[in-house]
Point group: C2
């Protein structure tokens, strides 16, 4: 799970850069790394029924978040949410976190706010923050959060198991995060903004939802939607060596995205397909299998799970309401090309 | 193990800042965190004979290292060494690492060099780099390395167990790292510089040495010398609620520090007492116990272990060759006050 983000890392693709680093790092050898680089978490095999999951995510001001309109509290909360969401995406249970903060001088109050946000989410999720490291950065603010989790070995879900004919599902509704960022950029205020920001700053990673799905269904793959559905689904397809066909009319679009669309003329479907950091789950399961738990899922979690398409032999395509197909280009947050997201 | 480093975090002490954060974070509750914040690593109790160790260290250009005279290779190597050294200090065995890099645009070649250094040390230590995260920073270079390790539960060594009458020991010789930084700052070249830099860029954390000591001796405390002996010993004393008396003539001064002293007029003892990042071990064991393994230690590791003083009831003092005592002020790298170290 080497992930790359931020601007300026030269015009080569993420995959190229990864492969280059992999050449240098080589394959893990000593401990039994069941799955390593390329998934949401590294999976370390230990004696007993559980494997350990290890993941780190870094968020940086001006790239992943904005200190202009986000509160320190929300910045801390969302930073932890991003790392925990990677554990959720494997079907795992987060146990402990380490927080490495890089912070400019004179940020005392913000530091307290960030920790308060971290604390409140960690308490809610029963994740212990067991340590960390604070360094002074000359400018900007960076938060690296490592999360250690565990997963029952046979319930661990990877990105690379999707098979032709599997149904593709997502939890919740998509595009809400991008809608909030659009409202912030455009200075849109009012009750939709207030509601959107509240939800944005207290987003909940889908831990219990993912564990339920891994328990109840023969999941063939799962990922959390951090870069946007189109990009994250393309990761599943690339690693599973398959394609996907999505039904445009089935994509669950978040209410905030619909609202922003009415205000700005933006296409709500584009927000839902390409907006990052919704932290919902995208997963695949054999054709027809998901439907039998959808009702219980909705009742248990107060959250819809929606079938949005099917795994195919190759290519990513999107079918519109009249049955026409067009290519679905991964258009989420491109880590190596995007300029700024947070502001 | 929250550690703080870098400049600009306001004129209050590290301890105050830590306590403030601890108030916010509260005590870990859910998993059995045998020891958490305040030691080199967080210790997580898991079923079986091993506990897990978890630590993160961040190094930042211009503060912990210099891109002016250090190679990318050496920067990567030392960054991993710093985190692994924390695992060594608990008597543990490092297993896996995660690397979170913040890097400016256009640093392709440096990135390869950093990873090569990381790789070579990780291969040498049999630590698997199982994942990570790369972000673009607007300026500067930051490397956060998380290391997961394990330790046999009864062999885990903490900072807080030193008892009055215990002997205080260090491995190796001290002040070599500070000597190299002084040579770099002053433009001192020649064979001493070449040799010093080579050693600096390929420093080896004392993993096997620490495990041997934890196995063979009833260690009452241990720490790695990252901030300078005077500061790191003060951490042991504060957490153990004891004092220490060191014999100035017993402090093993590194050859590079002696050389730099002849060139600059700096006091070699000050370099040894206060120079940071030697990554040697400072440990305590009941009076007289260490001597019986010192010879075997030297033979096995090609490294001296030296008794430098004794744990007392209170205060840190230094006895000179004529028997006079003066206070030993923690004068190592003060994380919250120091300006720059790397350059």
């Amino acid at each position: 799970m080497i992930e790359m983000s931020g601007n300026g890392l030269h015009p080569r693709s993420e995959v190229d850069a990864l492969e280059r680093l992999l050449d240098i790092l080589g394959d893990p050898k000593r401990i039994d790394v069941a799955r390593g680089i390329g998934d949401d978490c590294a999976v370390l095999s230990f004696p007993g029924e559980f494997d350990l999951l290890l993941t780190v995510d870094t968020v940086i001001s001006g790239i992943h978040f904005s200190t202009q309109w986000q509160s320190p509290y929300g910045i801390g909360w969302r930073a932890l949410a991003a790392s925990v969401s990677d554990v959720a995406a494997m079907g795992g249970e987060p146990l402990a976190g380490l927080v490495a903060l890089g912070i400019p001088g004179g940020w005392d109050e913000e530091l307290v706010g960030i920790y308060q946000g971290l604390h409140d989410l960690s308490a809610r999720l029963h994740v212990d923050i067991v340590g960390g490291d604070i360094s002074a950065l000359p400018s900007g603010l960076s938060i690296s959060i490592t999360v250690l989790g565990r997963v029952k070995r046979e319930k661990c879900v990877f990105r690379n198991g999707a098979r032709i004919g599997d149904d593709i599902w997502v939890t919740g509704a998509l595009g809400g995060g991008e809608a909030v960022r659009q409202m912030a950029q455009r200075g849109i205020k009012g009750p939709e903004w207030d509601r959107g920001l509240m939800e944005y700053e207290r987003i909940l990673p889908r831990i219990e939802e993912a564990r339920f799905l891994a328990q109840e269904l023969p999941l063939s793959s799962m990922i959390d939607i951090s870069d946007g559905l189109s990009t994250d689904l393309s990761h599943i397809c690339r690693m599973s060596r398959v394609g996907a066909a999505l039904d445009e009319t089935h994509i669950p679009v978040h209410g905030s995205a619909l609202f922003v669309a009415t205000q700005t003329g933006l296409n709500p479907l584009e927000l839902a397909l390409n907006g990052g950091e919704d932290f919902e789950l995208c997963f695949t399961a054999s054709g027809g299998s998901g439907i039998r738990v959808a009702e219980e899922f909705a009742e248990r979690f107060g959250l819809q799970m929606t079938k949005i398409g099917r795994i195919t032999g190759s290519d990513l395509i999107l079918r519109d309401r009249s049955g026409h197909s067009r290519p679905l280009n991964p258009g989420g947050y491109d880590h190596l090309k995007a300029k700024e997201r947070g502001r």
